[in-house]
Symmetry: C2
Subunit: 108 residues, 2 copies
DNA sequence: AATATTATTCGTACTTTTGCGAACAACAAA
DNA sequence: TTTGTTGTTCGCAAAAGTACGAATAATATT
């Protein structure tokens, strides 16, 4: 009988994907990627949601490892977590390549 | 004042990402990618969850446009939706490249 | 007509997510 | 010490997600 558990990689890809599964978080990541200043306030200004909600989204991105924060009293500076970003990039690249390899669809 | 709405692309990436945000759905996509036969039963056999739940996950993937289904009475054949798959691949590729362009992190 | 096969939908339960305003914490400035 | 600035956390509500077994539908087979 085959092992039905999910692999570590599958879990990891899903975790990253889940973190990216909200437009606000996509916007945050894109914003962080093209800014040299990335304070909470600047991020909040870009988004159509309350600061409490922004804070929550940032927490989720941080928990997923995609970003990191640093206190610079009285502000908080956020940025992409480069290492995990690279990892995500690799995993997604692998994933899409793997699934793109086969040329014909089995349907139609 | 800047437009705070999310762009179509951001919404689309988030939509794909959200659909990929569960290990079962990642497993399904990977399975479909490497099989020439892809009946519901085969998919179900690969996963540690009840068939009703598998059906739900398949529906979500279908709603997101990543897969498609076809009835072959009495079975149902599922497969990757090649067009949208390509689109997802492009969008994620763009997204990661864009965010990887800047070399130094703004945090330390 | 009764039975078997296959997968979806229904009904239910529980958890998680999303969102907000208000309260709070930490520190700087007046 | 009071006031102001900046973000986080709390408490709450509504919605969405996850999961299961049972019921159902659709079609073959006996």
């Amino acid at each position: 009988m085959a092992n039905k558990d999910y692999s570590i990689k599958q879990e990891q890809v899903a975790r990253f994907a889940k973190a990216m599964g909200h437009p606000a978080r996509i916007a945050i990541l894109q914003f962080l990627a093209k800014q040299s200043t990335c304070y909470f306030g600047d991020i909040h200004e870009e988004l159509p949601i309350a600061k409490a909600t922004v804070s929550q989204h940032l927490k989720e991105l941080k928990d997923a490892g995609l970003i990191q924060g640093e206190v610079e009293t009285p502000k908080v500076k956020y940025c992409i977590n480069r290492d995990n970003w690279r990892l995500a990039q690799e995993l997604f690249g692998e994933f899409f390549c793997e699934c793109a390899r086969k040329k014909e669809s089995c349907c139609g």
